[in-house]
Amino acid sequence: MDENVIKVENLVKYFDGRCVLDGINFDVPQGCIYGLLGRNGAGKTTIIRILLGLEPATRGETSLLGRKSTRLPAKIRGQIGCVAEGHNLIQNYKVSRLIKLCKDLSRQWNGESFDHLMETFRLPRDRRVRDLSMGMRAQLNLALAMAIDPELLILDDPTLGLDTVARRQFLELAIDIIQQQGRTILFCSHILSDVERIAERIGILAAGKLVVDCSLEELKTRVKKLRIIFPESPPDDLYLTEIINRQIQGREMAITVANWNRQKQAILETFKPSSCTEVPMSLEDIFIECTRPDSEPIEAA
């Protein structure tokens, strides 16, 4: 099998003539925890739905565990655990009935691990799914996804709608599970702190394009925000490539630039700025810069 568990090649998706995904490419190698970020409606869920074969792509190809998403056999589906956005469990079923259904349909079922999670989450088995709180539904969904000992775990905004305590509890348990079992995980969210805690590699979606695809550490070192003060008004063009964002206020110019290096620094120095200071950036700052409407994609270093 290919060492890339998830492959997305030139993925294009249109909804009613509107381009939602515009040539997305990324791979997730085995054992990697990939955080897919994007604002609401950026297309994160659409990518996941296409990957799972729930939605057809307009163009391009996606594959999971070496098989095309459009033709995922039951055996491969049995190796994929999925926590969907909004936790689309069968609402009118009792928890016990839903568990039995999943157990009967699954190819492998780790009852011990599942019971442990049910006890940890204190989930009632005799209540209907629709009567559970959003947090409980998220926990039940995670427990069901983990019970099959999945090779690949897809988490689509699993903490959406959870309160702070429930979110923290959910993430801590998810991290425990991830660390114990070393699985490949695709984690989609717009809550950056969640992704920052879990993900090794980051992809940022903006305006239908994947503007960032690199490791979290690399992202933090590659993207720099500089505050430059010029003796007079700033030049119209700095002749620097990969400027993600630029703002001018009086003599001050703030630029966010990717792949900052000595060459770029030398070009900047030719403009003889009065001062140039680096502004520390969190993942949230990088995300905001990258998802601005006029931002440029970050090319590979």
């Binding site: 689309n88 069968i90 259904l101 349909l105």
Partner: protein, 210 residues
């Protein structure tokens, strides 16, 4: 597959109860003339009732098809099941098997009772030997065809037009049978219609985003 069929039956058990109730009503209608005088008159009167109930039942199977698909779409059942090791084709096959079982729940007791009655109270005139087979095959195929129309209408129930179109098609189908009667030609037409419907349903069900 068995799990999927069991799930479908349990979710739509009301249709099976209805099939059993209608089956009992039809059997009691068939048996009533035997215990009464003016047998032939009653038999004709009973026949009218049977046709009425059969028509109701056939529309019932249309409703079952609509119900199964609409519930699925509304509760996102297939969307959830598709995240488990289950293909959409298997979900659909399980659904159709359940529909077939519901139709058989209604028809099989009728066949048994009719055969017994004909043996016990053979009519004075000779009867075509394939009569029962043709009539019940016709009823089964009609019910199944209506069920298939229901499945299609239920899956595209987001607008009223396909649902009403399906209902209209069911009316045409039932009228055709009431006018032409059961026979080999009707059986062939129904089989062709069912094959076309199943291909269409499979395409709709497997290609629509869940």
């Amino acid at each position: 597959m068995l799990t999927l069929i069991k799930r479908e039956i349990r979710d739509h058990v009301v249709y099976f109860f209805a099939a059993v109730i209608f089956s009992s009503i039809l059997i009691s209608i068939s048996l009533t003339p035997i215990f009464e005088s003016r047998r032939h008159y009653r038999l004709l009167s009973g026949l009218g009732t049977v046709i009425t109930i059969t028509a109701i039942v056939i529309f019932g199977f249309f409703a079952m098809g609509v119900g199964q698909m609409y519930t699925d779409k509304n509760r996102k059942i297939s969307a959830f099941l598709s995240t488990l090791p289950v293909s959409r084709s298997r979900i659909l096959i399980a659904r159709i098997v359940t529909g077939t079982l519901a139709i058989l729940t209604l028809i099989v007791p009728q066949v048994i009772v009719t055969i017994i009655l004909l043996r016990l109270y053979a009519p004075p005139v000779p009867v075509y030997s394939g009569f029962i087979a043709e009539v019940f095959a016709g009823i089964f195929l009609t019910a199944f065809a209506c069920y298939c129309i229901g499945l299609q209408a239920g899956w595209s129930s987001s607008s009223i037009v396909p649902a009403m179109g399906g209902f209209g098609l069911t009316c045409i189908l039932v009228s055709l049978i009431l006018i032409k009667g059961f026979g080999l030609h009707i059986i062939v037409i129904l089989i062709l219609f069912i094959i076309a419907s199943l291909i269409r349903i499979r395409h709709l069900f497997t290609s629509t985003p869940l």
